[in-house]
Symmetry: C2
Subunit: 146 residues, 2 copies
DNA sequence: ATCGATAATGAGAATCGTTATTATAATCCT
DNA sequence: AGGATTATAATAACGATTCTCATTATCGAT
């Protein structure tokens, strides 16, 4: 999915919620759209530059989360990393490096995703649980840290 | 697994690492062994009482984590909750209720666990990632909130 | 059981990611 | 453009966690 089409989708979503799509918020969405995995506020600040102060960045992330545009992932050392919601990026899973903390997106072939869904369904049935979403997180060592 | 057998296993593990199994550390392990889910430092402090100060509790959790006795789960609002490692409790997955926030442990049959492991391996191979463990989190609605 | 070496504790200060405050500026609507 | 509303930015405040270091508990050897 291209950055500009994400931009259009987000603009539409925010418009529906009467939330302004400001320059700062555009910068955050663009940075996330061009990212290969969840990013923390300070990582985004590093990429975007000082034209968007950290405090504004945090507020933008909160607003975008409330609007369902971004999703938080809570990680080690009190760090929260954000990524675009799956209705913008497509469903995928995460590889979490136990050494450097990097989180990498990975899409899996349809056949395997079907297997995951089947497993999720049967696991849920065991506990009378109604599954809505799933997140198969693989923890290990990334290519750089191997 | 009974609390006292967990205690014995932990004692053995710490002994191997030349780490003392002090009363404070025993209190933490006992509280976790008697728990039905991951607990934060302050929750543990509430259960254990003031005979183990918060600062000591945090240090104990760090030590126990380094020894592989407890595992952290990072959650919202910068809260880290700990539970006993799976070699003490058995491998399991988590059902996270999006309504009430409860986290339910669930063990799945061996055949399905094998399927999960195979999926984890092939997903990891896609990204030259070395998997160490996995966590299939199912988000949805628990039996109470359904 | 006691001693001595060493590791752990406890009280508080410090750190750091995040959130709240509030005066100023940008945006939207007519 | 003008007025109303929402967003920004600088900084203070907050809270979970970590650090510091003087004191104390633990463990192995005697
Ligand atoms: Mn992702
Ligand atoms: Mn668990
Ligand atoms: Zn890594
Ligand atoms: Zn529930």
């Amino acid at each position: 999915m291209t950055t500009s089409s994400v931009d259009r989708e987000v603009q539409k979503r925010l418009g529906e919620h009467a939330i302004r799509y400001t320059t700062g918020r555009r910068a955050v969405v663009a940075a996330l759209a061009g990212s290969d995995g969840p990013k923390s506020a300070s990582e985004l600040h590093g990429e975007i530059g000082s034209r968007v102060p950290l405090s504004s960045l945090y507020r933008s992330l909160t607003i975008l989360e409330e609007a369902g545009v971004v999703i938080p992932h809570y990680g080690a050392k009190g760090l929260t990393r954000y990524e675009l919601a799956e209705w913008l990026t497509g469903h995928h899973h995460h590889l979490v490096c136990l050494d450097c903390g990097a989180v990498e997106d990975v899409e899996i072939p349809g056949a395997q995703e079907t297997q995951v869904r089947d497993l999720v369904d049967s696991i849920s049935a065991i506990a009378s649980f109604t599954p809505i979403n799933h997140d198969l997180e693989v923890e290990g060592r990334c290519a750089r840290c191997a």
